[in-house]
Subunit: 294 residues, 6 copies
């Protein structure tokens, strides 16, 4: 994966997707799309034909996914050469060239769609994330974070794409942090008891996050010592009041009903984290494509 | 899967997703989200607590994905009971109740997110497809079709969701039909030769589709005997002319740069198929959620 | 896989097996045969012993499977060198040398059986296919085609072997084309209705094939617009009449009870496709073996 | 799997295939054949249609594979009911009814081909094995045994089929017994040394088998204490002489160039085991099919 | 899994292992041990023989692993009935009966070894953990925690076993919490900078843990705001001083060179967590076995 | 894997673990520990930082597992270079350097724990085995053997570790040899009948082992022609008497209640095999670690 590492901008220290998971995901995607093989190319493209292509942005976007593209072609044909021309996480203008590919025409054609399916989707996530990050006031310390509302099977890649867009990751999965919601509170017999039990039982490396629906619950959660409080569907004003009340005793996370228009206000109010399910569940694919050389 | 079958409206004869693939996909998604287990519920919810919840639409949408939801809970806990209240592919009003779940509270909480991640995404695809189908003129025989621009790993489920929305499926993968594009033509030494070679080599069960960029190519593809011709990025007017020229000698498919606004005009022009990558690559999740019983 | 590509005769443009599936199939076969390891070679062959061997035909046959053989040894030991001396699909005389292997003796011995199990079986399929193809009259345009009667788990490789023998592939699987049989007709309420429904619902890239048992059904299937008609267990004479009646309105496929002796007559009658389950379900292994160098 | 157990004749104590491997193999086969689903049945068969079918022999054969057939339908649809009417390993006359199936027509149609692909192949192996066993003289204690020349991925099922035919299994894989061949002898520096090293290093539960090409090697292998001696390509006369020389000091196995015609003579000569690669590498499928109820 | 749930003591609210992972792990273990099947039982035990057995402790221990035992037999044969007689996590006297099994003798024999391999190992982990927990002074709030030094492939099950023994889990894996060690500090250019960067980049749900080797590093880590400080190889006295200095500003974890003899002193000193790699990397199997009924 | 082979001492002819299984096991372990990635290193270690480390023994032990360590890093990053400095199976003094690693600091840190988890466990097995082998009298021909009491999922690696410690392997799994225990005898209706049936039905390559509890059973098992007799929980004296009675007619294996202290006496009594479950089920991890270069 040497070529890919080179392309990552060391200054951004972008955390890459885990290679073993990436490799398994790509194998599955290739089997899914290849079926018993690319019958069109077999019929029309000579086995020894070689070609080249450029990956180009066809609209302004943020790049994410070239390590996956490299793995797609590596699995199909180690003879495909890829020159990376843009760093993951970089902003691309329409027409920007991202990479150059060269190798067997059949291999390039066989991998094109799978490669682009990953790249367009991941860059879509990165681009939507970047839009939210860019909506933060200058110098803001508020984070834009993802959620567990990811595409089944693609969580590691989508969380990476969020990082490419300048966002942060929320907890990975149900076992990596505590998030107490109203059902837990009801089943446990009260907010304070739920926080207490979680503190007692969860790994000491995990923070205790508690979701609250009302200012009154916020007060109780703070008193009970929650490390993080998720303000669920709070208005901008309610968030601002919560920040004042909290006074740094816990991290505050705004979530639910967030859109781009509210980001600046929420950040201005001083909330620590804004988590946005749409980053992964509703990002549209961005248009990146292959331009074939003549 | 008896309960699910019951819920499918026999009159629509909706083709279900293949169960073996569905089962494998769900296992992977559950391992991805559960990690080493749901530490929050373990800490706060008694092992013997039981609860119930309704799956409800929170916006108008078309339903797709309840067989996947059922499989999620079946894998987690065979004791969870699901009553299905709406047919796959049905139009839901905001607030419509789709299903009732009852069982171990821990099991319901552990499966909620994965179940909704599938359901919201698939219903999103179905809803966007339905919008395109609804844009067809009354009585139109034009099809709205998907493409291979699906989410890696979820092709079978997304194609099913397209069917739930009233759409049709395009070829499954690279081996199930021939699609000749400009690169194939260039590598093969001409459009006629590419069609001829494909006809000679591809399975006789596969139609030969050829993508054309210009009216002149259309004329040549028709003469060469293509079964289907993809009109790539043709204007509405160019499509209309193509229909006239084709005169039923081949199926015509419009693709590239299609949006909802053009569907009526394209169908009115008499094109056979409108294929829309956005159905699967850019559908946003629709809001379906769990309302917990008190 | 560069070395393998070189060995494929570009003039034949033989469509290779999909590499990702091939790789997975080989891994499984190696785990199956190696168990906890080759205890005989461990005990008797020094770890640093190196050897060589020739793959040779021990009877006349058609070669298929060397890409699989290469992958077997690549997975076991990247240090094994393979020189390919005969093209896939080529006719071999008894004694013909197909490849030379050189490397660690332990690796060669550990992989020998799995490699030959693939090679003998695939070459068996190719050889039986070639016998059918050779039975076609000179200049015939009739195809010899396989069926879905393949070995579970080996479909992609066996279809490739059929191509190596000069045969053609039928539909890949249940989702890649429509094949209406008598049960579908009975369940659907008539042949015409079944064809109509399939045309309405199946992907537009798929041809509609309908199996018929009688000349009367043939007439109805032609009238209903089937793209392909499978003549099930028709005599040579009945096939000849069907060709006349069809007059090019549909492709005709003869199937059921075909043996080598009937191929010439059926092709002479002008049928388009002869599909033969035996190509994959009853081909015997051909004798290819390893001759070890002294 | 209760229904299957019932069908196995307790008197024969037929050793079943391992269920976990069987289950995994069937899952893979179903995914391979279903692709994205059975588009023909979806289009033509109502979701609520139910049907029945009989599995029948269409030629004389020995039955093997119904546990696999049961698993195929169990994975597709737990509602399919199967009544088993013939025991595994039983001899079937043409027309014999083996089982009755009843359930959703779509499920029956979707599983038919995969089920038969297993059943025809396994019954083919059982039938060919039985032919060899039947060729033994009455009262003979000679075994007909399989080899490692099995279909990649299907070893456990094919070995079970051999048992259904009255045959015995040879070693499972490279790790479950020692088999010294000429290459091992050459690499080790002599037959005696190879046997000695194997005896010293292999698990004490494994017998030491040595392949010999000449009577002189036989003498040496006996002297060196081999537990089993494989007489490779010995004539009937040479085998008879070997039996005399061996005088019960080792088990003798005849292999290589065996055909049905030689079985009686070899057994008559008193060889302990006749191993036949063809049982698994060259058995043709036997004709078992589904007769649908009207 | 109903029977298992019943056996879990609701008062302890023991967090179970995730079922999907458990199921996959058991499948793999069964394939590993069954190979092509249990040839001894096939030969000697009638197919219809039924038997019973009791799982009993043969030494004092803490029970962990019965849900895995249940899954082993469920996968082999759904007809095996298991009555659970002791709760997971309970202390067993020598001779205590843990469960009664009844079903096909072949199934019981085939699953015995795999079931016990899991049960003995997991109960070994639980027992060793319990010994450490019991060594804590009465009323102590110090936790005994595991580490990432688990058996490859069994992490979820071993962490569950730790919980059965009254221990707590540390972070699940490299992605679920931050742990800064000396290499990170060196690569990052200083302890303060490493903590700062981790706080900036890691998920906000994760606490920041920093390992320190000296009291001076402890002072710096506290000043830098680490949430948890791992005191690596500190003497009991040094730990006591650290607790005083820390004064509740961070959680303190003692690790490295811990043995049972030091637990009381370390807890007495007030450390929050004692993490012990030996719980999972060096627990010996405890003796639990099957007593067969006559 | 060339580098690894070099490190294996050709004189010991140590049988390596099967590479395909090793590779799959390592992939699983890496996914298990990496989760969505190493968030600590991402935050604190520059992407282009390179480092080095030595693998060193921190206590006296026998080395086993470096091929696994190599595979761990190969899967993570092919750029990591490993120089092997000690042969598998060699005895290490405290402080001995086993290997030098050099490469990306992030890759080294990401793989460290998984690599050591394998290495410490496997070297623990090898070390415990070696202690038993060393307890044999000089010149003894008695074998120390493992059992099926291995860690689920790691059997191939643990059996290799036993070989590294100078031990021998028992049967691989339930299908690779016959082991008749009291339950089989009871179900079969007598020891003689069980041995007879096993001899009749098991592969001829498998020896027939029979477990006996009393001298009387031993006499019967010898008379019945068992190849191997397992003396279960016999005292040293009883074993000695058994050896005399057996007089070489069968291999004798002592098992049950063996500890290191009894090995010399048992071997002195002339038993052929001493099998010790503790080698794999109760070996503690030995302390091998990474020393990072400054």
């Amino acid at each position: 994966m040497g070529a890919i590492e080179v392309a990552l901008d060391p200054a951004r220290e972008l955390a890459p997707p885990p290679i073993v998971t990436l490799r398994r995901t790509v194998s599955g995607a290739l089997e899914e799309d290849l079926g018993r093989g690319d019958i069109t190319s077999w019929a029309t493209v000579p086995a020894d034909a070689r070609g080249g292509a450029s990956v180009r942005a066809r609209e302004a976007c943020v790049l994410s996914g070239m390590p996956v593209v490299c793995e797609v072609f590596r699995q199909l044909d180690e003879g495909v050469e890829i020159e990376l021309l843009a760093a993951e996480g970089s902003r691309l203008e329409p027409g920007a060239e991202v990479a150059r590919l060269r190798g067997s025409s059949r291999s390039l054609l066989a991998g094109e769609r799978v490669a682009l399916n990953f790249l367009q989707r991941m860059s879509g996530v990165a681009t939507l994330t970047r839009a939210h990050v860019d909506a933060l006031p200058a110098g803001s310390r508020t984070r834009i974070a993802d959620t567990r509302k990811t595409t089944p099977g693609l969580r590691a890649l989508e969380r990476y794409a969020v990082r490419c867009g300048g966002g942060h990751n929320h907890r990975d999965d149900l076992s990596s942090a505590v998030m107490i919601k109203d059902n837990h509170i009801a089943a446990c017999g009260g907010l304070e008891r739920a926080i207490e039990r979680a503190r007692t039982q969860a790994p000491h490396t995990s923070r205790i996050e508690c979701e609250v629906d009302t200012p009154e619950q916020l007060t109780r959660a703070l008193a009970a010592g929650a490390d993080i409080i998720l303000l669920d569907n709070f208005s901008n004003e309610a968030v601002a009041k919560a920040v004042v009340e909290c006074a740094g005793r816990a991290l505050l996370e705004a979530s639910g009903g967030i859109d781009l228009a509210r980001v600046a206000a929420l950040a201005g109010a001083g909330v620590d984290v804004i988590s946005v399910g749409a980053l992964t569940h509703s990002a549209r694919a961005v248009d990146l494509g292959l331009d074939w050389e003549d």
